[in-house]
């Protein structure tokens, strides 16, 4: 293009010249006149380029080439900047990708926004997570706005085909697949006539189980499966990745549970999870209104169980994601701060370079370069840097996103859906360009406008005041941001320490607990079940290293609970307004195994059995709430779920932080009681035989007894399995997993922020003192000692550090408030947090300023003056 333009214009000049020569004008004069007529060739060329409109593109390419050349000339700076940026952008991208997949992207069902879940709500229980089976049936029949489906948890041992293996299961109503809008990968969903007590036993298996036990063969449909002691015909295979609150391997029809689970006929047992799809033409508001009406009817008809109960539909996505959103946004903010520090850091480095290039720029202005053109060049340079960092950042995010998700404490909802998609890429590109513009802005604005001659004339290195202020502002904001992250990390650390030192209410050392289901073969009549349990206890006691053994349905801090209303007289208060207690069913040695202190009275013994007086042991809280803490032993309480008669309080034990070290204080259910397994009435025994856990106190490391215990308890048919084995230490530590995870990440971010801030201080001070070398030389000739010079430089940095710390503390107090709201058990920012974190920062910052200060103090005055 350029060459053609050149050729075209020279052709014109030559033609004109030769014509003038033809008129008798001497060649030199002719050439001069021709040139004059055309005007300055460069100006004409400029105008032609402008006229073509490709000007900006050519400029961009030129600027890009120039920028790349500059980067190649300064590989150190480029590598450091790219490294910092790719870390910042990579971390931000990972967080955004997780947020995008978990919170922003719609569920992978058809029309996901029309899917809801139903929740009950009562005044005293607050929000319930489920519905009773009878309520579900009524709502399903009556609702015009919603098509409902329900499921509940299950599980059992698969004894055929393959080795006996305990798997998670779900009991689902026949409509579940059609409500969600999905169909099985192979075979079919349940028919309505199969979702009925006494119907043929059919099952849908997971994709994983199909691959594992059936080799993924298409002939699997129609084959049989022995699950939980019953033979099922496989009628379908669920799509890969199908989950209902976590994965499960066997899906069976819900209503077939009728015969074995008394809760199916109990309106107060709200154990079903209900999902529904809005019928065409209805919205959430209409569904809400209709459910309100239905709930009112139910309350009138069944006041004992349903008075005060309302039913509320929630968007399914909100339900599935739960409260993980706050953690995610918190982390995105934190990485955003790190990225901001990184940008400020690079901005100050670029600014330093821009200032030292001031004369070059002034020269170019003098030669006719437009100011906007030079500014654009600066921005091109930083945008390229930003994009380079962005590309590396995306690569980093791509590599690290799956480890990060795996590292998430507990289970991250929708974790299997997390991946990088176009939205994440747009975010990453946006973040990189924005960062690039951000750190390119200061140098671009410094392009000289006035006083060009002055800059050019002053032979000495000079530094404009405004740039020094800008540099200080950069350092101050970097320090302030680092303070925010450091203090947040400090607060989390302080919180974690405080929470870890809390007494869980039991002795967590040397205890192991595992789910344990009796062999389906021994679960036929109540006497057999009781005998089987006694056998389990006896066998477990014989395992070497086992000190004591107990069975319990609820293990502290583990998922799973049973909350029951109680009252202190036979006259019940209105339903759904009684106080509630966490009710655990246990065998006599439970207290010994868990090391829960007995405060008064006794725990259970062999004589508490069916037929003897029903007894209960309560914790300090319940004793306090029900009886004012005095003489509770010997009193009676009424627990409707356990029968009409009163139960005798025989003992008071210490409170156990069941809901986790951090969350227990804020939990709704704080009262606790224990009732003996031996007094569970016969009709309930079959159900209990599938939900009990075994807890063992050991004299050796608790995980060492797991294998021998497994061998001992396999049972005659070899189908009694231990599963979900935990030590109590693991459960206690898992209850703080969220806090620990946040602390770890904030710690890493704070460390990065500190490092970046120190690099920033070092860079800026090195640059500023470098600019002041001649001045320092003068000072030294006038008698200043090395010590004075050091004091001068350190003083300068101290001012910046202290202003930064001051601003940072104010910002950290605000950030602390947000943390307080979002993290349970959070301790407020206190003096000790500040007194630990702030000195760390100040020392690190001073250390970073020490090197340039020492270099300044070793300036040789003579050579410094000669530089002048």
């Amino acid at each position: 293009m350029e060459a053609q333009l050149e050729k075209e214009l020279s052709f014109h000049l030559d033609q004109h010249t030769s014509q003038l020569i033809g008129r008798g004008i001497p060649p030199d004069e002719a050439r001069r006149q021709a040139r004059l007529a055309l005007g300055g060739p460069e100006q004409v060329k400029e105008k032609c380029r402008d006229a073509r409109g490709t000007r900006w593109l050519e400029d961009l390419m030129q600027d890009t080439r120039y920028a790349l050349r500059t980067f190649r000339r300064k590989p150190g700076f480029t590598v450091v900047a790219l490294l910092i940026l790719s870390l910042g952008i990579g971390a931000t991208t990972v967080m955004f990708a997780v947020i995008n997949s978990v919170l922003l992207r719609p569920l992978s069902y058809p029309e996901p926004d029309r899917l809801v879940t139903l929740r009950g709500f009562t005044e005293s229980f607050g929000e319930l997570w489920g519905c009773s089976n009878l309520d579900f049936g009524d709502v399903k029949r009556e609702s015009q706005t919603l098509a409902l489906a329900a499921w509940t948890y299950g599980g059992g041992t698969i004894s055929e085909p393959g080795e006996p293996e305990y798997v998670n299961g779900r009991q689902i109503s026949a409509e579940l697949f059609s409500t969600l809008g999905i169909s099985p990968l192979q075979g079919r969903a349940f028919r309505l006539d199969e979702d009925r007590p006494g119907a043929a036993t059919v099952a849908i298996i997971s994709y994983g189980l199909w691959q594992r036990d059936f080799g993924g063969q298409p002939s699997t449909i129609g084959r049989s499966l022995v699950y939980d002691g019953k033979t099922y015909t496989v009628v379908g295979i669920a799509p890969a990745g199908f989950q209902l609150d976590g994965g499960a391997d066997v899906f069976t029809p819900l209503e077939q549970r009728q015969n074995t689970d008394p809760r199916m006929q109990n309106r107060a047992a709200r154990f079903l999870r209900v999902m529904a799809r809005l019928r065409p033409g209805f919205g959430l508001a209409e569904a809400r209104a209709e459910l309100g009406l239905i709930a009112r009817h139910l309350a009138e008809e069944y006041p004992k169980s349903n008075a005060g109960l309302s039913l509320i539909p929630y968007p399914l996505q909100k339900e599935l994601v739960g409260d993980v959103g706050s953690t995610l946004w918190l982390l995105l903010c934190a990485v955003g701060l790190v990225l901001l520090i990184a940008c400020v850091n690079i901005a100050s480095l670029l600014l330093a370079r821009a200032v030292s290039r001031e004369r070059e720029l002034a020269m170019r202005v003098a030669l006719g370069a437009g100011r906007s053109r030079l500014a654009r060049q600066c921005l091109t340079e930083s945008a390229i840097l930003g994009l380079g960092g962005g590309v590396l950042g995306v690569v980093l995010a791509f590599v690290s996103i799956h480890p990060f998700v795996a590292f998430w404490p507990g289970s991250l909802p929708r974790a299997e859906e997390v991946h990088l998609d176009w939205r994440v890429l747009v975010f990453a590109v946006g973040a990189s360009l924005l960062s690039g513009l951000f750190f390119g802005l200061a140098p671009a604005l410094r392009v000289p406008m006035r006083g060009v001659e002055q800059t050019l004339r002053s032979g000495a290195r000079s530094i404009a005041g405004s740039s020094r202020h800008l540099h200080s502002a950069f350092v101050i904001s970097e320090i302030a941001l680092a303070v925010v992250l450091l203090v947040s990390a400090g607060m989390l650390g302080h919180t974690l320490l405080a929470l870890s030192s809390l007494d869980p209410g039991f002795n967590l050392h040397n205890v192991m607990a595992a789910h344990f289901a009796l062999s389906p073969g021994t679960r036929e009549n109540p006497e057999e079940i009781r005998a089987a349990w006694q056998d389990v206890l006896d066998r477990a006691r014989r395992v070497p290293g086992v000190e004591s053994v107990a069975l319990a349905d609820i293990i502290p801090m583990r998922v799973g609970e049973n909350s029951l209303p109680y009252w202190t007289s036979a006259n019940q208060p209105p339903p759904n307004q009684e106080p509630i207690a966490l009710a655990s069913c246990a065998t006599p040695d439970y207290l010994k195994v868990m090391g829960i202190p007995l405060h008064q009275g006794r725990f259970f013994h062999e004589h508490d059995r069916i037929g003897s007086e029903p007894v209960v042991v309560i914790d300090d809280n319940l004793a306090q709430h029900a009886f004012g803490g005095k003489d509770a032993v010997g009193k009676r309480i009424w627990i409707p779920a356990m029968g009409a008669g009163p139960v005798l309080v025989v003992g008071i034990v210490g409170h156990v932080r069941h809901w986790g070290l951090a969350s227990d204080d804020q939990s709704r259910v704080r009262d606790q009681m224990y009732y003996p397994l031996a007094q569970v009435p016969a009709p309930l025994l079959h159900f209990f035989s599938s939900i009990m856990s075994i807890a063992v106190r050991t004299t050796i490391p608790p995980l060492n007894v797991v294998e021998p215990l497994r061998q001992q308890l396999r049972g005659a048919a070899g189908d009694q399995a231990l599963y979900e084995v935990h030590t109590m230490e693991q459960l206690v530590s898992a209850s703080l997993a969220r806090q620990r995870f946040l602390l770890l990440l904030f710690g890493i971010f704070a460390g990065l922020a500190l490092l970046l801030a120190c690099i920033g201080i070092y860079g800026v001070l090195a640059y500023l003192t470098g600019q002041r070398v001649p001045e320092i030389g003068v000072r030294m000739t006038l008698g200043a000692t090395a010590r004075d010079v050091m004091r001068l430089v350190l003083g300068q940095s101290l001012v910046m550090i202290f202003v930064g710390v001051g601003v940072g503390i104010l910002a950290a107090l605000a950030a602390g408030r947000i943390l307080n709201r979002l993290v349970e058990g959070m301790r407020p920012a206190d003096v000790s947090t500040f007194t630990i974190t702030i000195p760390v920062l100040i020392i690190a910052a001073l250390f970073a300023s020490f090197v340039p200060a020492r270099r300044a103090s070793r300036v040789d005055p003579v050579s410094a003056l000669r530089q002048q």
Binding site: Q4, K7, E8, L9, F11, H12, D14, Q15, H16, A37, L38, G39, G40, Q43, V44, K47, C48, D50, A51, R52, G53
Partner: protein
Amino acid sequence: MAPPKSDLPQGTLDLLILKVTALGPVHGYAIAQRLEQVSRGVVQVPEGSLYPALHRLENRGLLAADWKETETGREAKFYRLTRKGLKQLETETADWHRLIDAIGLILGMADGGAR
């Protein structure tokens, strides 16, 4: 003594270039020559703005350009009118005539009034 040259009215250079190129492919120097000859030296064609105008018209698709050899054997960039340029030339010519008529009318009327 040559008659004093007047400046080209704003925006008319493009029109004149289109007219000249309508006669056949022609290079930039020839365009300048032809303009000066046809206007008998009355109109001063600013050579400095000729090339930017050519490039602008080419960019807008009104002109197309090819490199060809001249009679003297040198390579030159020849501009020719495109179909789109022809249409543009026609409408602009019509506009110009309307404008001239209107201005003539106004000037004549003013004359009459003063008389």
